[in-house]
């Protein structure tokens, strides 16, 4: 493993660059007053990115071989169904995750 000085430098670089990506918009609009196109992004980007993050978090799913992504589709469907019926975050997330774990770990078969 690399030496301590290198590790500390590398961690400092990563921390700094990561903070830079997060602080970027705040540097450009320090007082929070924003042009119209930013207000448009403010409202409509969250639903877009949430959808993208659902796909992203499941991006390593292999649709080409068995079970053809059916566990992931089933897990998402179960989560949606639980949320529409019970309207409770915890029920939907715990239930969906347990259902998905039951499928991938083969508790049922």
């Amino acid at each position: 493993m690399a030496d301590t000085t290198y590790l500390i430098s590398a961690i400092a670089v990563m921390a700094a660059v990561n903070y830079l990506t997060r602080v970027f918009p705040f540097l450009f609009f320090p007082d929070g007053r924003t042009p119209g196109w930013i207000r448009y992004i403010e409202i409509y980007f969250p639903p877009v990115i949430l959808t993208i993050l659902v796909f992203y978090s499941l991006k390593d799913t292999d649709f080409a071989t068995a079970p053809y992504g059916l566990y992931e589709i089933g897990g998402v469907a179960l989560t949606v169904a639980l949320h529409l019926v019970f309207k409770n975050y915890l029920v939907s997330i715990f239930g969906g995750t347990l259902g998905y774990m039951a499928m991938v770990q083969g508790w049922l078969w």
Binding site: S9, T21, F26, G32, L50, Y100
Partner: protein
């Protein structure tokens, strides 16, 4: 306990599961290359970015040059530069808390902050701080625990990370209920699908974001029209 803390804790529970488990996995991975819990603690406190921290284990093993580390970090997390745009107004009056709120702006915290409205009567800036710090503490605790346990104990955690997918699904449904506009979700799904089919999984997220922004602005008049009708 203040009502702000109680609400923040309640809303952070879904993230708790995902962060403890993913953080734990990160700690395990780090200990597998010979780095103990102080390194896990420092990285999870100071960097606090899941994908980058996992990638960092590879950087260390290869002793990747610092300039390359900086460039790789930028590309892995450039998507976060778009997140702040939705939070400029929310964070405008947070005072001394602001630098920390920005530091703690992960995918999951961003999703919670932009989707769940702050209940009436609560002090929003305190709620934001508690929510951000709770999520951060889960990530730190998970990664330190993982590094401490090392490879000594085996758990079958396959599938637990699905809790983060489920969180995004649930937040998407709540977001839809607030505006009743389907087009942004269609744009997200199309952009993500196209990116998944055309680029490597390392570049998928940023490609999907850029594509979706192009579509979002191409359809701007139509989407804002829908807002007036609804």
């Amino acid at each position: 306990m203040s009502p702000e803390f109680k609400t923040a804790f309640k809303n952070s529970v879904p993230v708790m599961m995902g962060y403890l488990v993913l953080g734990f996995a990160f700690g395990l991975l780090l200990s597998s290359v010979g780095l103990g819990w102080p390194w896990a603690l420092a990285m999870s406190l100071l960097i606090y970015a899941g994908a980058l921290q996992f990638a960092a284990v590879g950087f260390f093993a290869a002793k990747l040059g610092l300039v390359q580390v900086a460039i790789a970090s930028l590309f892995i997390n450039i998507r976060q530069a778009f997140y702040g745009l939705s939070l400029l107004k929310k964070f405008a009056d947070t005072g001394w808390r602001k630098p920390y709120l920005i530091h703690a702006l992960t995918d999951e915290t961003y999703a919670l902050l932009t989707t769940i409205p702050v209940p009436d009567g609560l002090d929003a800036k305190r709620y934001y701080l508690y929510l951000s710090a709770l999520n951060h503490s889960y990530w730190v605790s998970g990664s330190v625990a993982g590094a401490l346990v090392g490879g000594a104990v085996q758990f079958d955690t396959r599938g637990v990370a699905f809790s983060l997918s489920a969180l995004f699904v649930v937040l998407a449904i709540e977001n839809y209920k607030a505006r009743r506009q389907i087009l942004p979700f269609v744009i997200g799904a199309v952009a993500a699908s196209v990116a998944m089919m055309t680029v490597s999984s390392a570049n998928m997220l940023i490609t999907a974001i850029v594509l979706s922004l192009v579509m979002l602005f191409a359809l701007r008049s139509r989407i804002e029209q829908g807002e007036d009708d609804g």
